[in-house]
């Protein structure tokens, strides 16, 4: 994500990347999003939190699969992964496995959580925590961690969107105008139909992303002589890209996979999608398909970056993050210019789609956490209508605040290190789900002690660079401390009554 920011910020003004037809295409795409939002509003069955935040628990196979897909892949998939592969060669394959590992994590907690969510009416991750541990402080701490991580996620994606608009229009549309217009579109369709609209727009965005990645890779792979051409060029220009990782690089590789496993699987909006499935069969089939999707998304972008490393050697960090576009421009010269132009439009649409689908899902999740887990316990007498209205209002306020921060921070660089903290925080919630769902004697106070210790460890280690050379993420050191403290506190406390969950 930071790579994209660096990449798009280098082109503040100049020739527009998209011509008039490309801009019209993007305009039609935005209008379609609003239309889908309105259709989502028409499909509303009742004015309740479950209908607004979970689409009435009625997401079918295709919608669930594509909303999970579009939510988990952001603009980083298209730009950042290829750039990373350009610089690090096949070592970036760790991301492919990382994306698959998320489904392995779902296998551990989703089956039981899904059944509980339907029998006990969960809407947010906080509902499960409250029901399981009966400890308000634990729920609030976990929810705050989730909100902080999601706010960071939204902010980085908003920065990308704004700079993307400036870049695409050659400076004709300002950062502020671009961010505000796109934010209004996202809030509008989310306000109209909640999760139903978000999931339906995700479906379209997921299809654009899938189509964009496969077509771009297919064309570039074809015009660059496939695997043979790729390997020959790497031998000639960048043989180190072919060399197996060192032991330290393998540790880093493993750390990345495990961080994805515990961190991304804890995204509050991903947990809500587990709750939203129409049936257990729907959820099972969606996850079975999802586990293979990195092979036709992440892997293709990694290979594209590696092909680029042989084709355009010697690029710096900023240049290498632009490798996909360089490859498309090269395609225009060596292959079919009409095809290349169409692919550039598709590529841009895919980045915008991936980024918007990430923001809208995260925004909806934060709104639900604030409404259900923080506001409702303070005002238990409020009706479903009033809570839903509060949820919608909170989405608007949240988006306005995020847009304000994005405009304020558009040229800042020092704060970027702080907003990179996402998975390191989210993985501290993992023991509450991974252990809490399967260990009936586990007590909330042990989970809370572990969560606080793990979070403090991860943040401090990240901030002060402790053991930064070890190749292991600070988030995983935090998680290790989290589990140790959890076990010690659990052992010290009197034996708890077995939970009925």
């Amino acid at each position: 994500m930071i790579g994209i920011l660096a990449q798009v910020s280098t082109v503040a003004t100049g020739e527009p990347v998209l011509g008039t037809s490309g801009l019209i295409f993007i305009g039609i795409y935005c209008c379609l999003l609003l239309l889908i939002g309105w259709l989502g509003h028409r499909a509303k069955k009742e004015n309740t939190l479950a209908d607004f935040y979970l689409g009435g628990r009625g997401l079918g196979f295709a919608v669930l699969l594509l909303t999970l897909y579009a939510t988990q892949y952001s603009g980083n998939t298209l730009m950042g992964f290829a750039g990373d592969a350009y610089r690090n060669g096949f070592n970036t394959l760790s991301i492919v496995m990382g994306m698959m590992s998320i489904i392995g994590a779902y296998f551990i907690y989703a089956p039981k959580l899904y059944r509980l969510s339907h029998s006990r009416g969960y809407i947010t991750m906080g509902d499960y925590l409250t029901d399981r541990f009966h400890m308000r402080s634990l729920t609030v701490c976990a929810v705050i961690l989730g909100i902080v991580a999601l706010c960071n996620y939204i902010l980085t994606n908003m920065l990308v969107l704004g700079k993307l608009v400036v870049w695409l229009s050659g400076g004709g549309i300002s950062f502020t105008t671009g961010v505000i217009v796109l934010a209004v579109i996202m809030v509008a369709y989310e306000f109209l139909g909640g999760m139903r609209s978000v999931a339906w727009t995700d479906m379209m965005q997921g299809l654009i992303l899938l189509l964009g990645v496969t077509l771009i890779f297919g064309a570039i792979f074809y015009y660059n002589d496939g695997v043979t051409g790729m390997i020959e060029r790497l031998h000639e220009h960048k043989p180190q890209a072919l060399v197996a990782p060192t032991a330290a690089e393998n540790r880093e590789w493993w750390s990345r996979i495990v961080l994805f496993f515990f961190g991304i699987s804890m995204y509050p909006h991903a947990i809500q999608r587990v709750y939203s499935a129409k049936s257990e069969q729907t959820l099972k089939r969606s996850l079975q398909f999802m586990v293979f999707l990195p092979l036709i998304t992440t892997l293709l972008m990694v290979l594209l970056g590696v092909i680029g490393a042989g084709k355009f050697p010697g690029l710096d960090k900023t240049g290498s993050d632009r490798i996909t576009l360089l490859m498309l421009q090269d395609l225009a010269q060596t292959g079919n210019s009409g095809l290349s132009q169409a692919l550039v439009v598709l590529f841009v649409a895919a980045i915008i789609a991936a980024t918007m689908s990430t923001i809208d899902s995260a925004l909806l999740a934060i709104s639900s956490l604030i409404t259900k887990d923080i506001y409702q316990p303070l005002r238990p007498s409020l009706s479903q209508d009033q809570l839903t209205a509060f949820g919608k209002g909170s989405s608007i306020v949240l988006m306005a605040v995020t847009v304000g921060f994005a405009i304020w921070l558009q040229d800042a660089t020092t704060i970027m290190a702080l907003i990179k903290l996402k998975l390191e925080l989210l993985c501290q919630i993992a023991p509450a789900f991974f252990l809490g769902l399967h260990w009936r004697l586990l007590r909330g106070s042990a989970v809370l002690a572990g969560l606080l210790t793990g979070t403090a460890t991860a943040v401090l280690m990240k901030q002060f660079g402790v053991l930064a050379d070890s190749g292991i993420s600070p988030g995983l050191y935090g998680l290790a401390m989290n589990v140790i403290v959890l076990l010690v506190v659990q052992a010290l406390l009197p034996v708890a009554k077995r939970t009925s969950l």
């Binding site: 590992s101 296998f107 899904y114 099972k284």
Partner: protein, 80 residues
Amino acid sequence: MKFLLYAVSILVMSLTVPWFFSTEPGDAMNAPDAGLPLWVIYNIGASIFYAALVAALIHWAWNASAGAPEEETTSGGAGQ
């Protein structure tokens, strides 16, 4: 039983890392003469195996992971 399945899936996940092909720093000249390097083929193959394993576990061991017999639920839960 379910914990054994979790352990197996996590073990396979860890084994997709090309531990057995580790090189020393600065081994750039050890790149293979032709074709995809063996460690890349290993990793992609192991990743596909992991994906197939997880898909199979979701299919066959879902109920075991849920810890109770299947109670097919459909839309319209009690969620308020």
